[in-house]
């Protein structure tokens, strides 16, 4: 089984420096792309590989690039690596950032070449201090080796790369909010259209891609679109980083083909549930995805299959609800996070999220009423897709609406017994 993204990552040593990375084939993607391919050819291979955005949205990466207007060669353009990973339960990009920073930088150089961007930013989550240090080192090495800067590989292509560390707001992961943050503003999302591909950072065409997405690019350039598709026997191409947290024996992160099932992940890779704990449910793609339950354990973790089961692949980092954890407390914790991280721009989200948080807390504390369940249902509609300015509020409603579906009896028990049965 091939694991292109993590093949050179080891926890027992620091990440490969530039020479060692080059020794195992690193930066060949840059050589090939810049010396032997046109930007258009790079874009086409990536589009044909069917690499979908690994940040959660799942849009074809090459197609996203193709919206950048390429007619004006002098036009300033930007490429941004979204390394803000701040969704609770998500920790996959950390592995790539700390484990192989040169792979990301290589992917960014190739991607910047494809859209002919001359400036690239890495927007890094503030908490990733170790990654910041390693990335700075790696960027310096890449400049020294002539992979960044002016006239890269004597091709006439120039690229400057900067690292920006955030100051902590979940909404910065939303690509238009991220642009505002980079411009030194409050990170509220922007209206689309215009899409960032046309008018992004400082009003210039901009591509924002997730770290895992960009880290795949060198391999696709080196080995081709068909190789990438063949990595997975399922409908979606490539491998995926999957993570599990919660009461399993071995929480962690693994690179596996796209068609791996939830059961395989929990039982084979995470070593099953801890002794004395039973599985009750899982948020398959991070905090903003719908619960799946026991009947879904054989669902394959790819975009289509998870969607068919009523949830989203999201980031592929799963959070497990066990039978010793109160589902109401669990969902209250999530809504507390979303209420706090709402950017406050639009009313349903700014007002609705704290409201749901308070209702959930009163139910958890034994002061809930049956009518509260209808109120919660109402909020899942008022903050559903299309009612708010960005996807934060609808995302926040996903675990809530599915908990009301699968764990309603637990909510009712709190209300009837006037206390949390777990406390």
């Amino acid at each position: 089984m091939e694991m292109p993204l993590t093949q050179h990552i080891s926890f027992n040593r620091p990440p490969l420096n530039l020479n060692d990375y080059a020794h195992v084939g690193g930066y060949q993607g840059v050589h090939r792309a810049i010396k032997a391919m046109t930007p258009q050819e790079v874009m086409t291979v990536v589009q044909e590989s069917d690499l979908k955005g690994r940040g959660g949205a799942g849009f074809n990466t090459g197609t996203k690039w193709s919206f950048v207007p390429m007619n004006d060669a002098k036009q300033t353009k930007y490429l941004i690596a979204n390394a803000d990973e701040m969704e609770p339960g998500a920790f996959k990009d950390r592995l790539l950032l700390e484990g192989n920073p040169h792979q990301l930088i290589e992917g960014m150089i190739v991607s910047a070449y494809a859209i002919q961007a001359n400036t690239a930013y890495i927007f890094l989550r503030w908490a990733y201090k170790k990654a910041a240090r390693l990335l700075r080192q790696a960027i310096d090495e890449a400049y020294a080796a002539g992979y960044l800067g002016n006239n890269i590989l004597s091709s006439g292509f120039n690229l400057e790369m900067h690292l920006h560390t955030g100051v902590g707001r979940y909404i910065c992961g939303e690509e238009t909010a991220l642009l505002n943050a980079l411009e030194g503003k409050r990170a509220t999302p922007r209206t689309k259209p215009p899409f960032p591909q046309v008018s992004g950072l400082f009003g210039k065409p901009t591509i924002v891609n997730n770290v895992e997405t960009l880290s795949n690019i060198p391999h696709i350039i080196n080995k081709g679109a068909d190789w990438f598709k063949d990595l997975s026997p399922g409908a979606d191409a490539g491998t995926k980083l999957y993570g599990i947290s919660g009461k399993v024996n071995k929480p962690g992160i693994w690179e596996l083909p796209m068609h791996t099932t939830i059961r395989q992940l929990i039982e084979e890779h995470a070593g099953g549930m801890k002794d004395g704990f039973k599985f009750r449910g899982v948020l398959p793609g991070g905090a903003s995805t719908d619960f799946l339950i026991e009947e879904h354990l054989d669902v394959k973790m790819d975009y289509k299959s998870v969607a068919a089961a009523g949830s989203r692949l999201g980031t592929g980092t799963m959070i497990i609800l066990d039978d010793h954890t109160c589902p109401v407390g669990f969902v209250h914790n999530l809504e507390h996070f979303f209420a706090q991280e709402s950017c406050g721009w639009c009313t349903p989200c700014r007002e609705g999220l704290p409201w749901t948080e308070k209702i959930l807390l009163s139910i958890e504390n034994g002061q809930g009423r049956m009518e509260d369940l209808e109120l919660l249902e109402m909020h899942t509609k008022y903050m559903g897709p299309g009612s708010t300015f960005c996807a934060l509020a609808p995302g926040a409603m996903e675990p809530l609406q599915s908990s009301l579906k699968y764990f309603k009896a637990d909510f009712e028990k709190h209300i009837n017994e006037k206390k949390c049965p777990w406390r």
Partner: protein, 154 residues
């Protein structure tokens, strides 16, 4: 008043961006790194240097979780209170910290040694529960080791 050192670092950031204002978050970070927090006086000085209104800069400063507009202690404890750490029992860690330091979330010890803050996910959920003190991340926390950890911060 900004120090010469602060101005040098801020000007370096300004040179990297096409509009001056775009460096304002970096400027806040730089001054906070030197002074621990952003007082009204610091805010006014940064605003004047960046050439933006103090109101606008404050709207940015107060938006981000890790720009402190109130004084903080010498060491900042950020305890993850997000979902994986909830499942793995961060509340016990919090109870222990409260008892040891005699402060709640949002408070600073009277000797200004510690400020205790809740923080959203620290990105180490497979090693929950987690906390961060200054630049150091602690993973797979148990109550037993907390006192030893605290001792190392003066």
């Amino acid at each position: 008043m900004l120090t010469a050192e602060e101005i040098r670092k801020i000007d370096h950031e300004i040179a990297l961006v096409p509009v001056r204002k775009a460096a304002c978050i970096e400027a806040l970070k730089i001054v906070q790194e030197h002074r621990g927090w952003i007082s009204d006086e610091s805010l006014l000085a940064i605003a004047a240097h960046i050439e933006m209104s103090a109101e606008e800069l404050d709207s940015v400063a107060t938006f981000y979780n890790l720009i402190f507009r109130k004084p903080v202690g010498r060491n900042i404890i950020l305890l993850c209170d997000s979902i994986s750490c909830y499942v793995m029992g961060y509340e016990q860690i919090y109870d222990h910290l409260k008892a040891r330091l005699n402060i709640k979330f949002g408070e600073t010890t009277p000797d200004a040694r510690f400020t205790l803050l809740p923080n959203a996910c620290l990105g180490a959920c497979d090693h929950a529960p987690t906390l961060m003190i200054n630049h150091d991340l602690y993973k797979d926390l148990t109550i037993n080791e907390l006192d030893e950890i605290l001792k190392t911060y003066k």
